[in-house]
Subunit: 327 residues, 4 copies
C-alpha cells in the first residue's frame, strides 16, 4: 500500500537493495521456514542478578518437549537491554548447546547503532543463531524516519551471515515501522520476516497480501491474536504466553492450521486473559511470576524492574484461574 | 478479565446498574438483532455548507439496494461534531423516511455532557432511531475515569427509550473505554452492543468471551478487520468503507458467516488498502472524494475540514486501483 | 521562526489575510489593551445541574473587588463543552450586567465547526463580550493541519465583530497550534492575542520576539508560570488559580510589572502547588472544591465530571496548606 | 508538592535513603558547586564512524576559552547510545586530559540496568568525571514506576564515588521523573542536582522551592529557557546551543545572574530560534552541521542517524541568520 506515496523512500530502497541483493524467486524454496510458535524466553537471574544458567537449562528442557518451532532469545521479554554484549552472546551459545537441533533459535541482535547491530548479528550467527531479530532503534525518536530505519535494516541485512527478522514493537520503542518501509525491506534477500507486535491485524494482512511474491513471513507478537492474525495470513507467533502455556498456544496454532475455527475461537478467547497477565498488565515481572506457577524457574527481574508486588500476584493468578488454567 | 482488579468500579456499577435494570436472560430473545454491516454515512453539504438533502436522498436510494443491516447516522464519518442539535435530529428523521423499514438506523447521540446526551437520545428515538450510538465524552481527559464513564453510560441507558451502543474510538477521543468498564456496562439491560474502533481484536475477543451470557454484540469499527474480528466473535461492523464498497464489504461478511475462510481472507486482504484510503490516510475528505468515484454524492466537508488536496486525490485513487476496485 | 519552512502555509495565509485585513501600524494604538490577569470562571450549577445564577452573581461581586483586568467566561474551566449554545450566550449576558464596566469580558466562542464559531462570536459580541477566545477545533485530529487551522481562524476573525484571541491548549485538544501558524495569524488585524496553555515559555518568547511589530499580546494559560512568561514577554495570564487566590495572583503580576523579581520569585514558587491542585491534579472538580474554601460558591460539576472524591479533597487542602494559603 | 500523595513511595524512599545517607546540612558547604553553563558535547566521528579524537581535541580547545562551568560528555547530544562502554570511558578520559582543571566534567553514566549504571559511574569517576549524569531507564515503560525509578537512583547514588545528577528527558525516554520522586531523591546526600529537559518551568520552580534546605541544584536542559528558569531558581543549564553559541549563552546567563533582565530578555528571545535549529527541529545532525558553521568540527552522526539533508541545511542556516548569528 502507498508504495507510490513516498518517492524518496523508494529511491533509498532502490539504491540500497541493489539488484544483486534482491530476492530471486528461484532461491525461495531454500529459505528458512519460520512457521510456528516461539516463546521469547525470559533471562533467569539468581539472587545476585547473575544469569542463572542451571535454571535456564532446566527451563530449556521443559520447553524442548513442546512442539515449538524454536525459541526466541533476547526478545523484549528477555530483558536484553539489561544484559552486556557478552552476556547476550554467551546465553545464545548455551541455549544452542541445550536445545534439540531441529529447533530454531531466533536471537535478538538489535542495538541502537547500526555498527553494533551488525557486530552482534555476526557474533550471534557464530554461536548458532538461525536468524536474528532486529528491533527498530528508538532513542533519537525524531531521527528515526522511514529513510533512517530502512537504511539501518539494509546495512544490517547486507552484513548479517544469517537472515534478518524485522521487529516492530511500538509499545516499547514508540517507533512505528511503516507498511511502506516493510514492503520495501521485504525485497531484500536477507530480510525474511517481520515480528509485528503492535497487534494491528490490518497491517499484518496488508503486508502478507503485498509480499505474496517475496517469500516473506509475518509472525504475530502476542498470543492474544494468534487466530485473528492467522486468518489474514500470519504464520505463527513469538508470544510471551508460550513460556507458560506452551502446549495450549501450540494447540491453538494447530487448530488454526487445520482449519478448526470453532475450536480455535474458543481456545483463543480463553487465552486472552492469561496473555494480558504476562504482557500488558504485569510485564516481565508478571511473566516471571507466572512461570513459577507452571513449574518453570522465574525468579526476579534485574533492577530497575521490580518483582511483582503481592497485590498484583493475586490479580495475576485470578486471570489464569478464570478459565481454569490454574486452580 | 480483571473484573476483580477494580473494586471501586464494581461498586459503582453494582449501585448504578440496580437489580431491576440488569438483563434478565428470559428477555434476551426479544432484543434487537444488530448483526451485519452498517455504513456510517457522511453528511453531504452543498456549496454553502448546508446539508444537501436531495443528494442525501439519492445516496440513501443507492445504499438501500445493498444488503446492509442498516445505516449509522452521525458516526465520526458523519461530521456530527459540526452539526447543530436540530440538524442532527432532522437528518435522522429524513433518513428514516427514505430508508426501507427493514433497515435499522443507529443514530449517534453522544454529546460531551450526560444531560445533553440523554435529551439527544430521547429525540433520536422519537424520530425513528432503532438504537443510539453513544461515544465516550472526551474533552476533560483527566476526568474521564472509568468511574465517570460508566456513570455517564448508565445514566444515558437508564433514560434512553431505545437501546444504547457504546462507542470507543480512541483515535478521535484519546479516551479508552476499558474492558472492565465494558463488561460491567454490558450487564445493563439497555446497553446492547459496542462499536469498538481501536482495531484491537484481542479486546474484542475478550469482551465476547466474557459477555456470552449477556446477549451483548460487538461490532468492528473498520473494514480492515471484518474477518479477523469475526473469527473471534464480532457480529459485523460499522465501516466507513461500506459507504463506497458496500457490496464488497457485505460479501466479505457473508463469506465470514458461511465459513468460507479462504475466500474471505483474499477479499479481506484486498480491502485493507482502500479502507486505509477512506479512514487513517485521508479521513472524511478522502471518504467523500472516494464516494464520487463510485456514483455517490460526496462533496466537500464543512470547515475547518478541508477538501482532499489534488496530490492526495491521486494517491487515494491508486489505493483503489491496486486491486482493481477502480481502473 | 521557521517562517521560511512552510511555503505552502505562507501562501495560504498570504491569500487569506488579504492586504485590507492586515494590521496597519497606525491603528495599533487604538487596540484593546489586554494586559493583566483574568480568572477563567467556572460555571456554577445547582443540584439539578442548572446554572445557578444567584451563586454566580455573588461570585462576580467578590471577583469585582480584585484588580483583575477582566474575566474569561467559557474557558476550559467553565465546562463550556457541557453547555448549550443558549446557556453560553445567556451566561455572558448576565456576567456583563453584573460586572463593573471597566472590566473586560473575554468570551469563549469556540466550536468544532467554523460556521458555528462565527455565529457564536457574533452573538457573544452582541451580549457584551469585548473579545472572543477561540480554541483550536480538535475532533478530527488528522485533519487539523496548520493549513486547516489557519483557514478556520482567518474566517472567524474576518467575521467576528470583536477581536479574536487564539487559544492553544493541547492538554485538552491534543492539537498544537504551531509557532509558524501563530506568527502568520498575528498579522490579521482582528487577531490580537494568544492564550498559550501549553506551559511552553520558549514558544511564548519566540512569538513575542517575532510579533514586536504586530501589537500582539500573549497571555499565559496557567498561574504556575506568570513570572517565567512575563520575563520573556507575556502580558499577564488567564489562570484558573485566580478564581481562588485572585489577590495573590494579581500581586504576583504587579511584582513582575514593577520589576521586583526577588519578591516575585518567592510568591511564584509558593503558588505552584496550589495551582497544580486546581488544574493538572484535580481539574474542574478540584477548582470548584477549592472555591468553597475561599468563600466562593463552587458546587458540583455537570455529569460526566464527578465531584472531587473525599480522599482527593484532603490532598487538595494540603497543597494549599503547605504555604499557609489555608490553615 | 504532593509529597503526601504517595504513601508507598515515601516508604520506599524512607527505607532507601536511610539516615546515614541523608544530607547533613553542615556538610552542605563542601559540596560541588555546579552553577553555570555546560555544553553537552557531540561525539565527533570520522568517515569510518570511529571517534575522531584529533577533531575532538580541537573542539575542546575552542570550548576551553569560553567561560563555561564545564562540559557534559555523553548527554543525549553525545550519541552515547551508539557508543560502546569502552568508547564512553575512553572519551571522558581524553576530554579530562585536554580540559583545564578548573572546568568540571559531568559524564553521562546512565544505562538501562542499575548494575550497568553503577559500574559505569565507578569507571567514570576513575577517569576523572566530577559528577555523573544518570538518565531514567526507559525501555520497559510500564515498569518504570516512581518506585522503580527511585530505587534505581538510590542504588546508583549509594554506589557512585562521585555525586549523581538526575536526568529527566521525556522527549527521548517518554518517561517523566515526577516532582514527588525528585523531592524524595534530593534528600540523598549523593544526589545533588537535576537536569530537567522537559522545559517545564513550573516544575523547576516547585523543585527549587521545596529543596531549599537540601543544597540541590536544578539545571535547565535547553537554551531556550535559561532566563525563564533562572528567575524561578535554576542555576544554569546544560544546553546543546552552547556548543555553537557558547559565548552568547554564557553572556545570557551572566545577564541573568547580575539581574539585567531587560538585556537578558532580548538576548534570550534571539536565541530561541537558533536553539530550535539544533534541538527540536533538526536534532543531533542539525547540531553537527551548525558546529561546522562556527569553526568547530561537526561531521556526520553514526548510523542510523542520517546527516542533515540538503533542504534542511538551508532552513537551519536561516534560523541563525534571522537574528544575525550568521550572515
Amino acid at each position: 500500500m502507498l508504495r507510490c506515496a513516498q518517492q524518496s523512500l523508494k529511491t533509498v530502497i532502490a539504491t540500497a537493495v541493489a539488484q544483486n541483493r534482491q530476492k530471486a524467486m528461484s532461491t525461495a524454496s531454500s529459505r528458512l521456514d519460520l512457521e510456528g510458535i516461539y516463546p521469547p524466553i525470559p533471562t533467569p537471574f539468581d539472587d545476585k542478578e547473575e544469569i542463572d544458567y542451571p535454571a535456564l537449562q532446566r527451563n530449556i528442557e521443559k520447553w524442548s518437549k513442546i512442539p515449538f518451532r524454536g525459541l526466541t532469545v533476547h526478545g523484549s521479554n528477555g530483558e536484553y537491554t539489561f544484559l552486556t554484549t557478552d552476556e547476550r552472546i554467551d546465553m545464545v551459545k548455551k541455549v544452542r548447546s541445550w536445545l534439540p537441533k531441529d529447533k530454531l533459535i531466533i536471537a535478538g541482535a538489535g542495538c541502537e547503532s547500526t555498527r553494533c547491530t551488525i557486530k552482534m548479528s555476526e557474533r550471534m550467527a557464530k554461536v548458532g543463531a538461525d536468524a536474528v531479530l532486529v528491533i527498530t532503534p528508538s532513542y533519537y525518536k525524531g531521527g528515526m524516519t522511514s529513510e533512517a530505519l530502512t537504511n539501518h535494516f539494509v546495512k544490517v541485512a547486507d552484513a548479517s551471515p544469517v537472515p534478518v527478522i524485522l521487529y516492530n514493537v511500538p509499545k516499547f520503542t514508540t517507533i512505528e515501522l511503516t507498511v511502506e518501509a516493510i514492503l520495501a525491506l521485504a525485497k531484500h534477500k536477507n530480510i525474511i520476516a517481520l515480528k509485528e507486535s503492535s497487534g494491528n491485524v490490518a497491517k499484518i494482512g496488508h503486508i502478507v497480501h503485498w509480499t505474496k511474491g517475496e517469500d516473506f513471513t509475518v509472525l504475530a507478537g502476542s498470543a492474544d491474536h494468534i487466530l485473528q492474525s492467522h486468518v489474514i495470513g500470519a504464520s505463527g507467533g513469538i508470544c510471551a504466553l508460550a513460556n507458560v502455556l506452551g502446549e495450549e498456544v501450540c494447540r491453538l496454532y494447530e487448530l488454526c492450521r487445520t482449519g478448526d475455527i470453532t475450536a480455535a475461537t474458543l481456545l483463543q478467547q480463553k487465552l486472552i486473559g492469561p496473555n494480558a497477565a504476562v504482557t500488558s498488565k504485569f510485564g516481565v515481572p508478571g511473566l516471571k511470576f507466572a512461570m513459577e506457577q507452571f513449574g518453570y524457574y522465574g525468579g526476579d527481574p534485574r533492577s530497575p524492574l521490580l518483582p511483582l508486588a503481592k497485590e498484583k500476584q493475586s490479580l495475576l493468578l485470578s486471570l489464569f484461574q478464570e478459565d481454569q488454567f490454574l486452580k
